[in-house]
Symmetry: C2
Subunit: 207 residues, 2 copies
Amino acid sequence: MTAPAGQRGRGRPRDPRTDQAILAAALELFTEHGHAGTSIEQIARRAGVGKLTVYRRWGSKDELIAAAVESARGEIPSPGIGDLDGMSYAQISQVIAEALPGSARTLAEPGYRAMLAQVFGSSVTHPGLMAAFWNDHILPRRRTAHLALSRAVDEGVLPPETDIEALIDMTVGAVVYRLLRPEPPDADELLAYLRSVYEQAGMIPRR
Amino acid sequence: MTAPAGQRGRGRPRDPRTDQAILAAALELFTEHGHAGTSIEQIARRAGVGKLTVYRRWGSKDELIAAAVESARGEIPSPGIGDLDGMSYAQISQVIAEALPGSARTLAEPGYRAMLAQVFGSSVTHPGLMAAFWNDHILPRRRTAHLALSRAVDEGVLPPETDIEALIDMTVGAVVYRLLRPEPPDADELLAYLRSVYEQAGMIPRR
């Protein structure tokens, strides 16, 4: 790792289009071949840049792939916690319900599903990648979910003995599990599935 | 695939110890390197047999790895559906609760967790492997869970609008998700976690 570190020069101005091309190439290659099957050299070649250009920006393959996984996050709509604070359960759950169709479309994309599989697949061999996914894709949504379920308990929609953390894990877990099961859902099937699970969790009211 | 098929001779007597050695080698290599990083040649070498010996038993790497994943299943205790039919919710949930410590021990083993990660990681690139895992590791447990939750609804422990299938996905999903998250649990932590999730699902009564 001495050579790459020595080649870095983080202070110089960077062209954001180069960053984006490298991140897109890294995401594609990781999605297709996983962490073990992807090299910095392949990423540089696909992005049309030299290896040194990559190493100037990211010090290691781990860092670069984690950044690429983070870059895929922007596509999933997620209401921020600031917007929801002070809202009632009915209001928060409506915001969550309205975000579900967009989430279903993104999550049902073959590329997202393939990336998710690679992240989970590398969770034991490369836990840093799962940590990046966890921080960038999951945690912000957990905060929203936590607020919704706390309000549901406060307002008597859910019983006081509700285990909110367990219920959030169960909701996230069910969605990941459904996406990676044989016979993947299309966006409409996934939306129906998300609604069932969110209703069962009390995250949104039953229709 | 013509050559391997021509080499097969499934009628001849087989030494079960050879089968076991090949399955163990396949499971180890798959767990360490994933589907893409494992070859029949490596499996044969680690098992101390020739490639033809492997091909006589399994026609392809896919078949062999699926059989190896299936072979890991026997370690998780699971009450059969036949034992539970005719039991009350209290009786079924007691059987389920008693099986949890054994499940926690097996699931928390680093080897099981690593295998699970590889199975989920190959879910998009090699769906056949996920299908094998699904059929052998998950489905038998789903039937038990379904019976428990149906009884819970029948006896008024859970409300009539309970979405049993969603609740089972949520339970299985949470466990997989917890196992593959950063900072994996040891057997005691996992047992406490299983109890929280099973209680929240209504699979076992709250203590």
